[in-house]
C-alpha cells in the first residue's frame, strides 16, 4: 500500500507537471488549429483517433499512467509499422483525475467532440463503469484494460453492456486458475481455503477455487476465514494443520497474507501455499521472510520474466523507452489493449463503432503479451494466467495455466 503522504506528494508533483504539460499542450493546440483546421477530425480522415480516459492524477494515478505508458508504446510501434490499414493512430488522452464524475465527462467529450473510434480506460473498475452508459448511447466501444470487476461488462440483472470490454481476466477467474494448478499441475487432492472474509475480492476467488477443485475431483478439507487487520493467525493455523491439507489457498492482500505465511511456517505447515494478485507487493517478502515464502505461488496477469518470445520482445522494447524499468501488469495490459483494438478494427474493415464492437466481441485466440485470448458471451476474456513462485524472496515465473 502506498502511504497517504507519499501519495499526496506524488499527486502534487503529478498535478504540477500535468499543469505545465497542459499549458504547453494548449499552446501547441492553438498552432495546430490555425494550420490544420477541420481536416484532422472526423471518422473518414487519414488518422484513426483512439481515446484514452485514464487516471493520470489523483489517488490511483500509478495505475492510469502505467496503462498509458504501455498503450503509447503500442501506438508508436503500430504507427512505425505503417498504422492500421495505412492510417496512423492518433491518441486523445484525457486525465479523469481518478474520479468517476470526471471519467463520465471525459467519455462524453471523447464520444461527442473528439469522435474517437474507441476508448481505452479507465484503469479502475469504478471509473470504467462510470463511462459505460455513454459508450452504449454513442456506440463507442470502451475497453477497461485493468477493470477486473464483473460489473463493468455485466449488469446486476445479468444483461451484458454491448459496448464495454476488458483486457484483464475477472477476479474469480484467478480462483479457477489456482484450482487447476493445485489439482492438475501439482496433482494434490486435499486442499484447504483460508480467505479474507472482509473483502469481496478474496471471497470471489475462494468461491471459484472451491467450485473448480470439486469439479476436478479434489476435496476441500477445511475452510477458514480471517478479517483484514488481524495479526494473530496462529490458533486458526493450528486448527488447519490438524486437518492435514496438502495445499492451502489464501486469497487476500499482502498485508495479512505476509503474516499468515510466516506464522504458517512457524506452526510447521510446509505444504504449498497459494494466492491471487493481491500477493504482488515487495512488502510481502519483508513481512513473511524469504525462507517462509519458498514453496508459495500466486496467480497474476503476466510476468516480465516469462521466457515467451513475444513477452521478452515487449519487455525489451518497454525498457528501451522507459529508462530500463521492467513493465508491470498495467503496462502490459495497456499495451495489449491497443493491439486488441487494432486487430478488431482490421477485422471489422471499418472504424464504425458498431462494426468494431462486433469484431471485439468475436475475438478468438488472439495472441497477446498477457496471454492468448478469446472473449466469452459476457465480454470476459478467456485467457491463460501466469503462475509465479517465490524463490528466496524473488518472484520467479513458474508456468502458464489455461482456464
Amino acid at each position: 500500500m502506498i502511504s497517504k503522504n507519499k501519495l499526496k506528494r506524488f499527486a502534487s508533483v503529478f498535478l504540477a507537471s500535468s499543469l505545465i504539460i497542459g499549458a504547453l499542450a494548449g499552446c501547441g493546440a492553438k498552432d495546430g488549429a490555425t494550420s490544420g483546421g477541420s481536416s484532422s477530425g472526423g471518422k473518414d480522415s487519414d488518422v484513426i483517433k483512439i481515446g484514452m480516459n485514464l487516471e493520470l492524477s489523483g489517488g490511483v494515478a500509478s495505475y492510469g499512467s502505467g496503462v498509458a505508458a504501455g498503450a503509447e508504446l503500442a501506438i508508436a510501434e503500430i504507427n512505425e509499422a505503417g498504422g492500421i490499414d495505412g492510417k496512423q493512430i492518433k491518441p486523445v488522452k484525457i486525465d479523469n483525475k481518478s474520479d468517476a464524475a470526471e471519467a463520465t465527462s471525459a467519455a462524453i467529450k471523447l464520444a461527442t467532440q473528439e469522435k474517437v473510434v474507441a476508448q481505452i480506460g479507465s484503469a479502475t473498475s469504478g471509473n470504467t463503469v462510470a463511462a459505460v452508459q455513454i459508450a452504449n448511447k454513442n456506440k463507442m466501444p470502451i475497453i477497461g484494460p485493468s477493470a477486473t470487476s464483473t460489473t463493468v461488462t455485466v449488469n446486476e440483472d445479468g444483461s451484458v453492456n454491448d459496448y464495454a470490454f476488458r483486457t484483464c481476466f475477472i477476479d474469480p477467474f484467478q480462483g479457477k486458475i489456482a484450482a487447476n494448478f493445485a489439482t492438475n499441475t501439482l496433482k494434490l487432492k486435499n486442499v484447504a481455503i483460508y480467505a479474507d472474509s472482509s473483502s469481496d475480492y478474496a471471497k470471489g476467488l475462494a468461491k471459484s477455487f472451491k467450485e473448480t477443485v470439486e469439479a476436478n475431483g479434489g476435496k476441500v478439507v477445511a475452510e477458514e476465514a480471517y478479517i483484514a487487520k488481524d495479526t494473530d493467525f496462529k490458533s486458526i493455523l493450528t486448527r488447519l494443520k490438524s486437518k492435514k491439507p496438502e495445499f492451502i489457498y489464501i486469497p487476500g492482500y499482502y498485508e495479512e497474507v505476509g503474516l499468515i505465511v510466516k506464522q504458517a511456517r512457524e506452526a510447521g505447515i510446509d505444504v504449498p501455499l497459494m494466492g491471487g494478485d493481491g500477493w504482488d507487493s515487495p512488502k510481502m517478502v519483508e513481512l513473511a521472510g524469504k525462507d517462509a515464502l519458498n514453496n508459495t505461488f500466486f496467480t497474476n496477469h503476466y510476468s516480465s520474466e516469462d521466457p515467451d518470445e513475444k513477452i521478452q520482445k515487449f519487455v525489451s522494447a518497454f525498457k528501451a523507452e522507459n529508462k530500463d524499468k521492467a513493465p508491470d501488469a498495467f503496462n502490459a495490459l495497456g499495451y495489449d489493449t491497443v493491439y486488441w483494438l487494432k486487430d478488431a478494427i482490421e477485422r471489422a474493415g471499418s472504424t464504425d463503432g458498431e462494426a468494431v464492437q462486433k469484431a471485439l466481441a468475436a475475438t478468438k485466440d488472439l495472441p497477446l503479451v498477457t496471454g492468448t485470448f478469446s472473449v466469452d458471451e459476457n465480454h470476459h476474456p478467456v485467457k491463460t494466467a501466469t503462475v509465479l513462485e517465490f524463490k528466496d524472496g524473488k518472484q520467479v515465473f513458474n508456468s502458464k495455466v489455461n482456464p
Binding site: 502511504s3 496462529k234 494443520k241 503474516l259 506452526a267
Partner: protein, 291 residues
Amino acid sequence: MEWVQQLVNGISLGSIYALIALGYTMVYGIIKLINFAHGDVFMIGAFIGFYAISGWGLGFFPALLLAMVVCAIFGVLIERIAYKRLRNATRIAALITAIGVSLLIEYSVIYFRGAQPEAYPDVLSKSTFNFLGAQISAQSIMILSVSLSLMIILQFIVHKTKIGKAMRAVSHDVEAARLMGINVDNTISATFAIGSALAGAAGVIFGVYYTKIDPLMGVIPGVKAFVAAVLGGIGIIPGAMAGGMVLGVVESIVSALGFSLWRDAAAFVILILILIFRPSGIFGKNTREKV
C-alpha cells in the same frame, strides 16, 4: 497435540494482553482514570524497538530496555501535560481527554512517518522444539519468560519498595497519603512511568512475535487489555495478569473450535457478562488492597 499447541498460542497472546492491562489497572487504581492513550504508548514502544533494531542494529534486550525507558518518559509527559491539571475535574472530562490524547498520538505518528506498516526484523532464534506433540518456538518461550519476569519485578516494586508503598497508600486515600508526607504528584508520575514502560515492553514483544506493526496497531490490543483489566478486577495487579491470560486462552479456544470470526466478539461478550454479573471482576473484593 493440537490442544497443547492452542494453549501455547493462547498464553503467548495472553501475556501480551496482560502486560498492557497492567498499565491500565495501575493508573485506574491510583487516579481512577481509564487511560485510553495507553494502547498508543504500546504502539510507540513497538516503533522505538523497531527503529532500534533495524536502524541502530541493537539486539532484542537493548531494544526492549530502550523502548521501556522512552515509553516511561513519554507516559510521564502525557500525565504531566494532559492529565495533571484535570485531576480535580469530573471523571468524564479526564476520560474524554484520554481519548483525545490517544487520537493525537496515533495521527501524529501517521503525519510524521505515514500509515504504511513495517515488518519487524528477526532478532530471536527461530528454532522450535517438540513438547507433548506441540511445536513450541524458542521465541515464544523467550517472550513468555520476559513477560513473567517483568510481572515479578512489578510485584516486587509494589510490595517491597518505598515507592510501591507510596503507590499503595495514594490509591487507598489520596488526602491521607498527602497528610502523611507522601509526594502525591511524584507517586502518580511513577505509576505512569512504570505502566508505560510495561506497555513499551509489550510493544516490542508484540512486534517480534507478530511481525507487523503500524500506527493504529494499539487500538484493538488496547481495548482487549482494558477488557482483561476489567475481567481481573480493575485496579488490582494480579487481576490484570490473570485477566490477560484468561482472555488470550479464550480467544485461542474460540478460534480452535472453528469460530475464528467470532474471536473479537468473544472478548466483548466476556466484558458484558462480567459487567452484568460481577462488576468488580474475578479478583475484586472491597476488602482487597488496591494499587
